[in-house]
């Protein structure tokens, strides 16, 4: 049984004027435990909608979203979420207190949760920054807090919504490398939303390409048979890049035509 299944999911949003916008339709997808699944698509195609449905922040208009065979009925600590921006961080808590939040809500004793938070801050490379407030940290560091805060809860799965999109190119490349290393260590199942082909091929074990919205669904899925450290100049890497690029090219054009 797959860890996650989307079965013929439709999600319609109603605008203030009462007009229905079908963001995704006939969306079906299965994710196995241990995968690093990258969901790739042009902007406005409903990638984030899929993440919100799986996180339990929103309910599908029709169809089913299942985890371990049971319908998703709301947010749960089984599914840790890393958001794109930094507005999900608790600005009044220090880095380590942010990471401790989940265990603290469950009543884990202070010494134990401190120790666990410290371990995960070390995993994401934030040792020495424990006592700083989010406002005192750079964009990359704030995303590290988010990753540690989600992982310390030991979720069955990590949902990441374009977590590096707002970072500068150098920081982004560094964060991708470190996330790949973290994933090698933890092997937590990941659903990673991105619009960046390079990022998807760098990180993913499978890449799902979405069609341009509205009524978006999965156009195709590519298995990435690359192991360990991936190099952007490898022929194999470039081969995958090209394959994914050819799948998404028309969708991007359609998306831009619609926006313009």
């Amino acid at each position: 049984m797959p860890l996650v299944s989307f079965r013929d999911v439709r999600k319609t949003y109603r605008s203030l004027h009462g007009v229905d916008y079908p963001a995704v339709e006939h969306f079906s997808l299965e994710i196995e435990a241990g995968e690093f699944f990258c969901l790739l698509g042009p902007s406005g195609c409903g990638k984030t909608t899929i993440l919100k449905l799986l996180a339990g922040f929103e309910v599908p208009t029709s169809g089913e979203v299942l985890m371990d065979g049971a319908p998703v009925t709301g947010a749960s600590r089984d599914r840790g979420v890393v958001f794109q921006g930094d507005d999900s961080l608790f600005g009044w808590l220090t880095a380590i207190e942010n990471v401790e939040f989940g265990p603290r809500m469950r009543g884990v004793p202070k010494a134990e949760r401190r120790e666990r938070a410290r371990r995960y801050l070390q995993l994401v490379g934030l040792t020495g920054q424990e006592q700083k407030y989010p406002a005192e940290l750079s964009g990359g560091m704030k995303q590290r807090i988010q990753i540690a805060r989600a992982l310390v809860n030991e979720p069955k799965m990590l949902l990441m919504d374009e977590p590096f999109a707002a970072l500068d190119a150098q920081t982004r490349a560094l964060m991708q490398l470190e996330l790949a290393n973290i994933w090698q260590t933890t092997r937590t199942t990941v659903l990673f939303i991105t619009h960046d082909i390079d990022e998807a091929v760098t990180l993913g074990t499978r890449i799902g390409v979405m069609r341009a919205g509205p009524r978006s669904c999965v156009k195709g899925v590519v298995d990435v048979a690359l192991d360990g450290a991936r190099s952007r100049t490898d022929d194999a890497f470039l081969g995958y890049y090209k394959r994914v690029y050819e799948m998404i090219r028309d969708e991007v054009a359609a998306s831009i035509a619609r926006a313009g």
Partner: protein, 258 residues
């Protein structure tokens, strides 16, 4: 970036010192050379009178009466306003239910309520405290509710995905995220409390800074009037500084947006 010694102190407060000094210098020049009338005493005369009134206890009695009323009404109003504002910001039906009250009553100035307050509660403490509560509560409610609605939805979502219950989200996310708004509301309310207490004491009171102003007018004690005015200014300044300091201290980390 911490500054040290006298030079640091001067850097931090020098501008203030000059600003304040210039205020008194201009006042002095205006009253001695420009107006030159007993109706506009210079700061030296006012200071001397102030010291005399401090020594015989009259000033402290008036000051104490006004401060007590302000603090009692201000804290009661805030303690009522904060939970109501939090509840209104969190639950839309409750907001709809209570908004007619806040939106209607906040436009009736507390000064206009003085007559009603005196009829209902007499000229003693009760009417003054009622008026200060009245002037405090709506601003605090409005600011608190606005603070709750300004919380980034992703903060709530993140807390949900981390396993927090609704009650925990309220206590550990909504409340701290709203602190700067609450403090701002309280700061504005404190300013209004000064207006209200003076107006109320002008009309009906046995002691207080407002009563002192009224007596000064009745008995042509111009110096007393100025002592009362300066005291109000200094008191307001000191209290507002305390609020600014606490907002500054908390706002750095208790920010709703980031």
């Amino acid at each position: 970036m911490r500054s040290h010694g006298l030079r640091g102190l001067w850097g931090a407060y020098g501008g203030y010192a000059i600003g304040f000094a210039s205020l008194f210098v201009i006042w002095h020049l205006a009253s001695v050379y420009l107006v030159s009338s007993v109706l506009f005493p210079p700061p030296t005369v006012v200071a001397r009178k102030g010291i005399a009134l401090l020594r015989n206890g009259v000033l402290l009695e008036h000051l104490g009466a006004s401060i007590q009323r302000i603090l009692a009404g201000f804290f009661a109003g805030s303690l009522l306003g904060i939970p109501i504002g939090l509840a209104m910001g969190s639950f839309r039906p409750l907001r709809r239910l209570l908004e007619p009250y806040t939106e209607f009553l906040r436009f009736i100035p507390s000064v206009a309520m003085i007559t009603v307050a005196v009829i209902w509660f007499g000229i003693g403490e009760a009417s003054k405290i009622f008026l200060i509560i009245y002037t405090t509560i709506f601003i605090v409610i409005l600011n608190t509710a606005a603070g709750v609605s300004a919380i980034a939805p992703n903060k709530i979502r993140a807390a949900e995905a981390l396993g927090a219950t609704r009650a925990q989200i309220f206590l550990h996310v909504a409340l701290p995220a709203t602190v700067p708004y609450i403090l701002t509301g309280m700061r504005l309310a404190m300013g209004n409390s000064f207006t209200t207490i003076v107006a109320a004491e002008l009309i009906a009171a046995n002691e207080g800074l407002g009563k002192m102003l009224w007596d000064g007018r009745m008995f042509m004690l111009v110096d007393d009037i100025f002592v009362s005015l300066v005291t109000l200014g200094l008191l307001g300044f000191a209290v507002d500084r305390m609020f600014r300091w606490s907002i500054y201290t908390f706002a750095g980390k208790y920010s709703p947006a980031t």
